[in-house]
């Protein structure tokens, strides 16, 4: 397991010793588990005297507590948040907490004792908070019982604070470290029967504590997967068919085998070729010089124009899937005093993870191992077993913290399979595959492209009488598992428009409402992208409602409020954002506001944007206020960081994000033509967290879906012209 010490002091930053080897070679067994990245030998010996209370908590003789984290850490702060939840119930000393990550192989061997390891859908904390808190509480109960047994007093007479157990009557005192060995031998309590603390009384959770994993991010000491060094390791660079769906026909390796460091050129599955060399730079430059022949396939006929035409056809086609049909929207719109209609479009988007895709694999006859950044270690484990052909019990996955994920490194595991396919051709030799940034931008699982047509009717008093929304776009589910799709029914494309409460419910009640989806798939691979379909749908609904409000002569905030009487939580965040932003207060000359609310990942979000537009047409975002009700706020400081990050990611998409298709392949190739937001354009972000403590919602993704619509509505307020297509860089504002 990888260990991370509590890293608040940077004067003497923890320089973890990264003695890296295979788990079996390392041979370090602590608590019956392999150590993928071995501790120093003195530490390893010390580990043998550690006491494992349960799968979540290990207490050491020096009172320090090791808390295990099953989910992946990719910057979102989940590891610190989960540790806070365990520590809260454990009642240990937070200053003595460190964390470690069990491996997917260990999880499989223990019949998934750590539960689901997948880290996506903003679910890391909300779907595991209950059992990790129970794990912390169970450990506390055992530690107290061990002290009570030792002192022969009723456990109810003991008190504990920060890992120190006291018995007031006899004035005795001990600590977790002293009773841990005895506690570990006790029968664990029934975790389901444990009464957890009232969150209003939290002391460790619920507070903006510093992250546990900062120190080695400041001095270059943190080892990402791309930084891994293994003895005898080779490096691989890969090129995949430029056209999606194309196949590798041939390559002429005689042209590059004489280049420095080059070991071999290898076919990777059917659609890619890799050069393996001593260094990655040697591999990459040889690959650039390698003559390759591709069979581009049918995809080569496709372009952004043909794809757009297919979506447009979907906007008016018959026989589409009606997800919601309440009242008679078409009739009500036809009979309305005023009718408003608009068509919106959003492009494909790449993730642009800061750490490029990479995976190191070492495959021998009876053992397969990978080291990688992954949002889903168990999916990596499955991919490793399938691709290596070895039984899962002989496979191990070492998760290293990700240099961002954003949904790119979840279930697909394309880079994992490639690394294994390459390494299989070098038995027993570790091979590190690194994608170039160009490969990353051109072979992503893109945010799906879609268009939407919305129409609404308003009566003589300016009240909305009916709304019809149709989305035509590509289905993620259809791409990953086409057999699930029948008759074009993929509700996920309507994320944020659901009637059902709890996850991504629409926050409005329309007197008549027709919601339709026309599935129009393309040859471009698609996948989850931070916020997934709430991004596009948030733009469609929230920008359209601003158009309707203005047509009705009403204030966009008041117009929304009138439709939200049945949705108090949606309304709550909308009001919180409006209040913090000072919605009715005057703005400096030339500055305009826009507002939006939407729901995704079990949380409620709203935003107010303040923008001005220069004479040159340049849009300047001055300030964004975001309100979030995520139910429980485990670490408000990290929640604010996720909101700030969502603003940056959302504004990157709104201003610059666009993946175009020409002759079946991606036109963009790197950050110079796939632009992203930089510091100078980052607005001042104010985060208002309004938890209601009656549910558990997500944090990493929910707020991104209100960023673009709030911005676009502010631009609409400034120009009087609605923005209906993204990105903004393609539009003339002046």
């Amino acid at each position: 397991m990888k260990k991370i010490a509590n890293g608040s002091a940077i004067a003497n930053p923890s320089r973890r010793q990264f003695v890296v080897g295979s788990a079996t070679a390392a041979g370090g067994l602590a608590l019956g588990m392999h150590l993928p990245i071995l501790m120093g030998s003195a530490e390893a010996a010390d580990a043998l005297s550690d006491a494992e209370l349960n799968v979540w908590v290990v207490v050491k003789p020096d009172d320090s507590c090791l808390i295990r984290i099953a989910r992946s850490e990719m910057g979102q702060g989940t590891a610190t948040g989960l540790a806070q939840l365990v520590a809260e119930e454990l009642e240990c000393d937070w200053k003595k907490v460190s964390i470690e990550f069990p491996t997917p192989g260990q999880n499989a061997a223990k019949k998934r004792a750590w539960g689901n390891m997948s880290t996506g859908g903003s679910a890391g904390i909300r779907t595991s908070q209950d059992y990790v808190r129970r794990g912390g509480a169970a450990a506390r109960i055992m530690l107290l019982q061990a002290a009570a047994d030792q002192w022969k007093v009723p456990v109810g007479e003991l008190a504990v604070s920060e890992g120190v157990i006291t018995h007031a009557a006899s004035k005795r005192k001990t600590s977790y470290g002293k009773v841990a060995t005895a506690a570990a031998k006790l029968t664990p309590p029934d975790e389901k029967a444990i009464v957890l603390k009232d969150p209003h009384n939290w002391k460790v959770a619920g507070h903006a504590l510093h992250r546990l994993d900062t120190a080695d991010k400041l001095n270059g000491g943190k080892v990402f997967s791309i930084d891994l060094k293994l003895p005898g390791m080779l490096n691989a660079a890969i090129k995949q068919s430029p056209v999606f769906g194309g196949k590798l026909v041939s390559f002429d390796d005689t042209k590059v085998l004489n280049r420095p460091g080059v070991k071999r050129v290898v076919k990777v599955n059917d659609s890619a070729v890799a050069v393996v060399a001593d260094t990655w730079w040697h591999a990459k430059t040889a690959l650039d010089a390698l003559p390759i022949v591709w069979d581009e396939g049918e995809g080569a006929t496709q372009s952004s124009a043909t794809i757009a035409a297919r979506l447009q056809e979907g906007l008016t086609a018959d026989n589409v899937f009606a997800h919601r049909n309440e009242g008679d929207a078409m009739k009500a719109i036809a009979a309305s005093a005023k009718k408003i209609e608009a068509v919106y479009s959003t492009p494909f988007l790449a993730h642009g993870c800061m750490e490029p895709m990479n995976c190191t694999a070492k495959i021998s006859a009876d053992r397969a191992e990978v080291w990688l950044p992954t949002q889903n270690g168990e999916a990596s484990h499955t991919a490793l077993a399938e691709e290596s052909g070895l039984p899962p019990a002989q496979c191990e996955v070492y998760k290293l913290d990700l240099g961002t994920g954003f949904g790119r490194r979840g279930g697909t595991q394309d880079y994992t399979r490639q690394a294994v396919a390459i390494a299989k051709q070098f038995p027993g030799v570790p091979v590190k595959l690194i994608w170039s940034r160009e490969e990353d931008i051109q072979h992503d699982f893109y945010r799906p492209i879609s268009q939407a047509k919305l129409s609404a009717g308003i009566d003589a008093d300016g009240n909305l009488t009916a709304l019809h929304a149709r989305v035509a776009g590509q289905s993620i589910n259809a791409f990953f598992n086409p057999t699930l799709m029948k008759d074009g029914k993929d509700e996920r494309l309507l994320q944020g428009f659901y009637e059902k409460p709890g996850d991504a419910q629409l926050g409005y009640t329309f007197p008549n409402f027709l919601l339709e989806y026309a599935m129009r798939n393309t040859h471009v691979p698609v996948g989850p992208w931070r916020g997934v379909n709430t991004n596009q749908n948030g733009v469609y609904m929230e920008c359209f409602l601003d158009e309707v409000a203005r047509a009705a002569g009403k204030d966009p905030l008041e117009f929304r409020r009138a439709l939200m009487k049945n949705h108090p939580k949606h309304l709550g965040v909308l009001n919180a954002a409006a209040e913090k932003a000072g919605w009715n207060k005057p703005l400096p000359k030339g500055v305009f506001r826009g507002i939006a609310q939407f729901m995704g990942y079990g949380s409620y979000s709203a935003a107010v944007a303040e923008v001005s537009i220069g004479k040159d047409g340049k849009v300047k975002v001055h300030r964004m206020v975001l309100a979030l009700n995520c139910g429980h706020a485990v670490n408000p400081g990290q929640i604010a960081a996720q909101v700030e990050g969502s603003v940056a990611y959302g504004l990157s998409a709104a201003f610059y994000g666009e993946i175009n298709i020409d002759k079946g392949r991606v036109s963009q190739s790197n950050f110079h033509d796939y632009g992203v937001l930089k510091l100078a354009d980052m607005p001042k972000v104010e985060t208002v967290i309004v938890p209601t403590y009656d549910f558990w919602g997500g944090v990493g993704e929910p707020t991104i879906c209100v960023v673009s619509p709030a911005l676009l509505n502010a631009i609409y307020a400034a120009t009087g012209k609605p923005v209906r297509s993204l990105p903004l860089k393609n539009l003339q504002m002046a």
């Binding site: 270059g220 990402f224 060094k229 990700l402 700030e644 940056a648 937001l677 980052m682």
Partner: protein
């Protein structure tokens, strides 16, 4: 063979002349705190100090480096300014994933060395490294905090 002065130590490296300094640092010298992000000087993850100035090492060929040039990477940046930056980064919990932060810290350190009291406009102009987590707001605040802490120390 080329001789490089990296972090105050002389390193003899064997690499082709056109090998980018980034890959010499990562693969020949073995210092991996300096990151690969784009390879085209667009993101700044590879930022190092060359004779005190911040440069993007992915786009500087080995042949452009002289033995007298002083290269400093994130592993060894240790001036009082750099320490103030690292402390401010920790205080404000700037890093999320951390991948770009080596480059951000090298850029901020160079900025503060040149301009001990930078304005927001100075920060806009100097801090052009990409962060996909979106830590920009905290980076700005941390640069100001580091500047304040140095002023405080200078007065004390």
């Amino acid at each position: 063979m080329t001789t490089l002065n990296i972090n105050g130590k002389m390193h003899n490296v064997t690499a082709e002349d056109d090998t980018p300094l980034l890959w010499v640092i990562r693969e020949q010298v073995g210092l991996t705190g300096t990151k690969y992000g784009c390879g085209v000087a667009a993101c700044g993850a590879c930022s190092v100090h060359l004779n005190g100035a911040v440069v993007r090492s992915c786009s500087i060929p080995l042949s452009a480096i002289k033995a007298t040039d002083k290269i400093v990477t994130i592993e060894a940046v240790a001036t009082p300014v750099a320490k103030a930056v690292q402390h401010a980064w920790a205080e404000l919990d700037v890093p999320q994933c951390g991948y770009c932060q080596s480059g951000q810290i090298m850029a901020a350190t160079a900025l503060l060395a040149a301009k001990p009291k930078p304005t927001d406009q100075d920060i806009d102009a100097a801090m052009t490294n990409i962060c996909r987590c979106g830590t920009y707001q905290r980076i700005r605040a941390a640069v100001h905090l580091a500047a304040e802490s140095m002023t405080h120390k200078a007065k004390a």
